[in-house]
Amino acid sequence: MNITHPSIHIAGVGIVSPLGSDVDKTLASLQANHSGIAPLRVFSVKQQPALLVGQAEISEDFATLPRTHRLAMAAAKQAMAGQDCTPDAVVVGTTTGGISRTEKLLAENSQDPTSYMYHGLTTVAEAIGKEVQCNGERLTFSTACSSGAVAISMACRMLESGKSQWVLAGGADSLCLLTYYGFHSLQLVDKQGSRPFDISREGMSVGEGAAFLLLTNKKLKHSYGVVAGYGLSCDAHHAAAPHPEGKGAENGMKLAMDRAGIKADQVDYINLHGTGTPENDLAESKAVRRLFDPPPALSSIKGLSGHGLAASGAIEAVISVLCLKHDFLPANGGCKEVDPECGIKPLASPASQPVSTILSNSFGFGGNNACLVITEKEPEIVRSQDDEVAPLSIIGKSCITGAGHTMDSLGKFFTLESMAGVLETKIVAEKLAARSIRRLKRFSQMALALAQAAKEDFGIQQAPHGVFMGSSWGALSETYDFLENLRQTDEKFPSPLDFVGSVHNSAAGQIAIRYGATGPNLTSSGGDYSFEQAVLAADGFLEKETRRNTALVIAADEYHSHLSPLLDSSVRESNFAADGGGGFYLCRKNIPGKVSVSPSFYGKSNGETLSECIVALGGREHVKNNCAMILAGIPAAQAQAGEQQLDCFMKEVDIDVPVIHYRKFIGEFGSASAVAAVMATQLIESGEIPVGKSVLLLGFGSNCTALEFVMQG
């Protein structure tokens, strides 16, 4: 039996960017071909003259929040203005989170942990979720400059599955020292301002902004348009440079058009990624020319807006909506003489012409590509999918804890001894080729070691299609070293290697390069629930079709002696250094004899959450009859609330099964649940759990999460 996908309608939009602080101002700027690029004034820098950047004007609202949060809140509020619904989920793409504030705090050597409370990327989604009273998933994706478009794609998956009806999705990033000096250190900044596709272009203008779209699978009386298709791909080529022929970009565009059911000649306008770097613009042009003969009208707005990084995909999705509404196309600002090698003709000035189908490109570090097709009306074709969703089978697993690699950690678990600690980095990476990790620090080495071990556990030489990574804090060593080096050298010598390594998705990018994983490549950051978010993303994007049905799902966190105690309240509470992570090789297929994992529930902890969680797990009777063991994750900093929630859960389902508080053995770190997931799998595989019974991995505290593990018959 086939069912049809619902169309994903755009019910509301909001935008704050260097082009203007709302939709009307943005449109006016683009119609006037006005540039928002100017010398930096948001903060002061020691190296003068200041570079040209794209900076946004923001209101005084939410003054206690860091800049990224304020940008995000302003755009999210615009998208929700006049709506009479509450979003079921909030999905945010961001790379900066609260780093702009953390930079100041570190410079002042602040030791007050409360002042760092907004550092985590997840706090942007949390702030928006609170503002719009969303009690469902508050998800965060950090895939560098494609983050915003990735967040919108994930929202579409959630709406298509029918699990959500209203999702607020978008992206936000603010200017900060890290991105300002980071791109400069890579010599990717044009001192004259970004000139995409110009013959003498020298790079981008780093920018900022935020944009959000309220999306729904319901039919609307008034719709701003339809997100008709999305395509995620990975170059699997280089950490910071695009594939020279634009192979991943081409694949992303093709997937998005296929999903929308349109042919290349139906696209009226391409909103190019067009950053202004020599490599990106050439590679993107080549990809466009291979797919479109001749290309339709096209332009990059980044010569006017600067590059909003994680926000850019969402900013350009909202601008695409404006183009559809006003039959208007923005100019390719900044470009005076088109580079003949690019072989395309970007719009030299704004144009008025009918437009009903737009392709919008976003590409990021790690070869991370996300393309969206946005249309005025619902597509005419009937898209169908098999309604039988196959489970996520675990075909390989691995973990790292203070006790060592997988078998050493599992050994401790079965004798209920603590495995908490910080494994020597040399031992973490002992099985990795020295050359392959020479530019990676602890976090990425851990992720790569987990990926390699999970793949070896599977045993068959097959490239995974996707990579889904989760991490609470990402690459702390590179982030700290970059900022510390900047401070020590009066901002003169930022390290390009540390900048490339500091982005949250650097590890997932490395894994993709290592194994040639050209499918979706997502990095989630959801605080103590980052692994759960990565599993949700894998569940959303892994398809049943052979060759597209495998992925590595990894979650890891590194302990950093300076930052971890400041950032992670559970680390402070426990006063004990621990880190590690878990890795899975998953296949979307029913495989008898293999354990499957289902992300049954993810929601904000409140009065009704537990009942909803139990319903999502199949109801009280189902849980009572099937659950043989509970692995409970209660972060130390939320012990009281978490214990109460666990207690209520046990009473409500009325079961008497062993409950293991796994953080007591694994240690206090964000990705501890990934290690616990490996334990759950091992318990079932080794026959410790009666046949047909399940192990529940429950997360409590600020969120309530449930993953169910069961052997497939």
């Binding site: 250190s185 010599q187 050359r435 020479r438 530019r439 010598f493 390290s495 390009p496 290697l497």
Partner: protein, 88 residues
């Protein structure tokens, strides 16, 4: 091997974390970028920073960079002839 060459070899091994390479392994006349050591464009940027920070020599454009980083020998010579620090 003169002192400057030895120093620069040590520095490259350190900043590029070439843990499996000894100074003797680096052939002064062999292709430095894209050669056997696996050094690529990001490493070049890190080397540019080191050359400016430690020797006060600015490599201001791609064309000069390509020449300077073609071999270790060229890099050493460029630093020797442009460094005020060394001269003093």
């Amino acid at each position: 091997m003169d002192e400057l060459t030895a120093n620069i070899k040590d520095k490259l091994i350190e900043i590029l974390n070439l843990t499996d390479v000894t100074p003797e392994d680096i052939d002064e006349n062999a292709q430095l970028v894209g050669g056997e050591l696996g050094i690529d464009s990001i490493d070049v940027l890190e080397m540019v920073v080191m050359v400016e920070k430690d020797y006060g020599v600015v490599i201001s454009n791609k064309e000069i960079g390509e020449k300077v980083f073609s071999t270790l020998k060229n890099l050493v010579e460029y630093i020797r002839s442009n460094s005020l620090t060394l001269a003093s």
